[in-house]
């Protein structure tokens, strides 16, 4: 069994709305798999179906070989989940929250306490373990949720927007921990709308829009597939109307970015000398000129637009 997660024709309706549209994909063992999409694309609904929180209307999902609908207890036993919305018990202390989750996973007391202590120390919460979660900051709550997701030593970890709205330190700590867990063999399923995060962490990403997966590949291969999204960024010593540059052959689109212009093209090598000629003909001085490969964000926007 090479796949940690297998999904076939997974579908969810909310009334008339088709929230997840017959998606099929696999996540390999030991992979960090990113699930990218704008708000309302179906990311959270997919995670909630994969983790057995809601039932799909059609299709099937397996986690480590366990069908989440037919063997939900066995599947859930080997998962860890960090949900999008904070849902630790705010009336309980951090320690009591961890104990509760440990008990719900049937972890023996001694092991639960050892693991809980280690996790709280690793995530910088040990000193505040007796404090009620009500008084925790968002970053602390998110770190606690990660501790709660890891207490059962999961083989597959689901993270729904884990760094959304966090301070830089907490976000960095969580990303570092995801990498470390992955090194230890944990498969990670990560939903995010943060392109940079997906780019930094993921082996492969799926882009979902309107409930439908529009692409699955590694970040680099997705970029390579989008050759039309290479760009040249130029700035001149004087302001210039972008419409004039759009007449340069092979330029597909011109976007103003502050005092710079971004020219999308499939042939940046042709556009650079053309820009030099353009500047000379207009009596302009080039302040800076850079060619850029497509970013994951460019790929995401393009594919999302095509899908809709």
């Amino acid at each position: 069994m090479n796949n940690a997660i297998e999904v076939s024709e997974l579908t969810k309706y909310y009334g008339e709305l088709l929230a997840v549209d017959h998606n099929t994909f696999e996540v390999k063992r030991g992979e960090i798999f990113g699930f990218l999409g704008p708000n309302g694309a179906g990311k959270t609904t997919t995670v909630r179906m994969l983790t057995g929180i809601i039932k799909p209307d059609e299709g099937m999902a397996k986690v480590m070989g366990y069908n989440i609908q037919k063997e939900p207890l066995k599947a859930k036993q080997i998962m860890g989940i960090v949900p999008e919305m904070s849902n630790a018990y705010v009336e309980l202390s951090a320690w009591d929250n961890l104990t509760l989750i440990g008990e719900l996973y049937g972890i023996p007391k001694k092991k639960r306490e050892e693991k809980g202590e280690k996790l709280l120390k690793d995530f910088g919460l040990y000193e505040r373990r007796k404090q009620l979660v009500r008084g925790f900051s968002k970053g602390m709550k998110q770190r606690l949720l990660l501790c709660m997701a890891l207490i059962n030593e999961p083989r597959v970890l689901f993270l729904d927007e884990p760094t959304s709205g966090l301070d830089v330190e907490s976000a960095r700590m969580i990303k570092g921990m995801i990498r470390d867990l992955n090194k230890d063999g944990v498969t990670v399923f990560l939903t995010t709308h943060n392109m940079e995060e997906a780019n930094q962490l993921c082996d492969r990403v799926a882009i979902i829009n309107g409930g439908k997966i529009v692409a699955i590949d590694s970040p680099e291969r997705l970029r390579a597939r989008s050759s039309g999204l290479h760009s040249v960024v130029v700035s001149f010593d004087k302001p210039i109307d972008g419409k004039e540059m759009s007449r340069i052959p092979t330029v597909l689109e011109v976007v103003k970015m502050g005092d710079k212009m971004k020219l999308y093209t499939s042939e940046p090598g042709f556009v650079v000398p053309s820009l030099v000629d353009f500047a000379r003909s207009k009596g302009l001085k080039i302040v800076s000129l850079n060619t850029l490969a497509p970013s994951l964000e460019d790929v995401f926007v393009k594919l999302s637009r095509e899908a809709s």
Binding site: K74, Q77, P83, V90, E103, G106
Partner: protein
């Protein structure tokens, strides 16, 4: 790690849920409906009337056990839905029945603790119980039946505890008045007795009257049997209905 599909393992996990539910004992609505309400009703019933402690005790016990054991359960699901902690529980390897049984146990424990306190106070006030052991068993069984009833009352998939608490009060209050709490069943009219036979509280107050005053309307074996039947019926119905409404809570 233990097999999550085994019955005993699930039972242990439902104890963990019950232990966690202690956070709801001090909620304002639980204190008002579970502690203040029976106290005020008891005061309204006794002040200015010449009733012996022995005559008062069965009704007071019935009211206390009914209000306390049904005060925690109705609020748990709405509170958990609103706080999104329910999602955490559902994502854990815990069966639906174990989850709801945990909530029933928490309500049961609250009912037992408060009723025990009332019994101890009554003891110090000089009230004698003729059959303490039978009363003890009856209290435990009744507490479980009412705790399961409380969970059953919270099946509408609302995330507003006040809505469910109001709804449960609408159902609970009439039961108090038809269950021999204020007037012994033997003194009710024919139709009063017919209606009261549908209330689980009737059988506990009857049982309590037997234990304190040495006489009852129904045979006590019938009281126990009916309370047991109500316990099982409420528990099964509550679990089934909650399993049906759970997806709506999680959407």
């Amino acid at each position: 790690m233990n097999d999550p599909t085994s019955f005993l393992e699930q039972l242990k996990r439902s104890f963990a849920i019950a232990k966690k539910d202690r956070i709801y004992y001090s909620k304002g609505m639980v204190v008002i409906l579970g502690l203040m309400m029976p106290l005020f009703l008891a005061l309204a019933y006794t002040i200015g009337r010449n009733i012996s402690a022995e005559a008062l005790m069965p009704g007071l016990l019935g009211m206390t056990i009914f209000f306390t054991a049904t005060s925690v359960g109705p609020g748990i699901m709405p509170w958990e839905t609103r706080a999104r902690t329910l999602e955490r529980l559902v994502s854990a390897p815990v069966s639906g029945w174990a989850l709801f049984l945990g909530d029933v146990m928490a309500s049961f424990l609250f009912g037992v603790l408060i009723t025990m306190a009332v019994v101890i106070i009554a003891f110090f006030l000089g009230v004698s119980v003729v059959y303490p052991l039978i009363l003890g068993f009856g209290m435990i069984l009744a507490c479980f039946a009412f705790a399961a009833f409380g969970i059953l009352l919270s099946t509408p998939p609302s995330d507003t505890p006040a809505t469910i608490m109001m709804l449960s009060s609408v159902i609970k209050f009439p039961l108090i008045f038809i269950s021999g709490v204020f007037i012994p069943i033997s003194e009710l009219s024919y139709w009063g007795r017919v209606v009261s036979s549908f209330s689980p509280l009737t059988y506990f107050t009857d049982l309590a009257r037997y234990c304190v005053q040495g006489r009852s309307y129904y045979p006590i074996t019938l009281d126990f049997t009916v309370l047991l039947a109500f316990s099982v019926a409420f528990l099964i119905l509550g679990i089934k209905l909650h399993e049906r409404t759970l997806p709506k809570r999680l959407q």
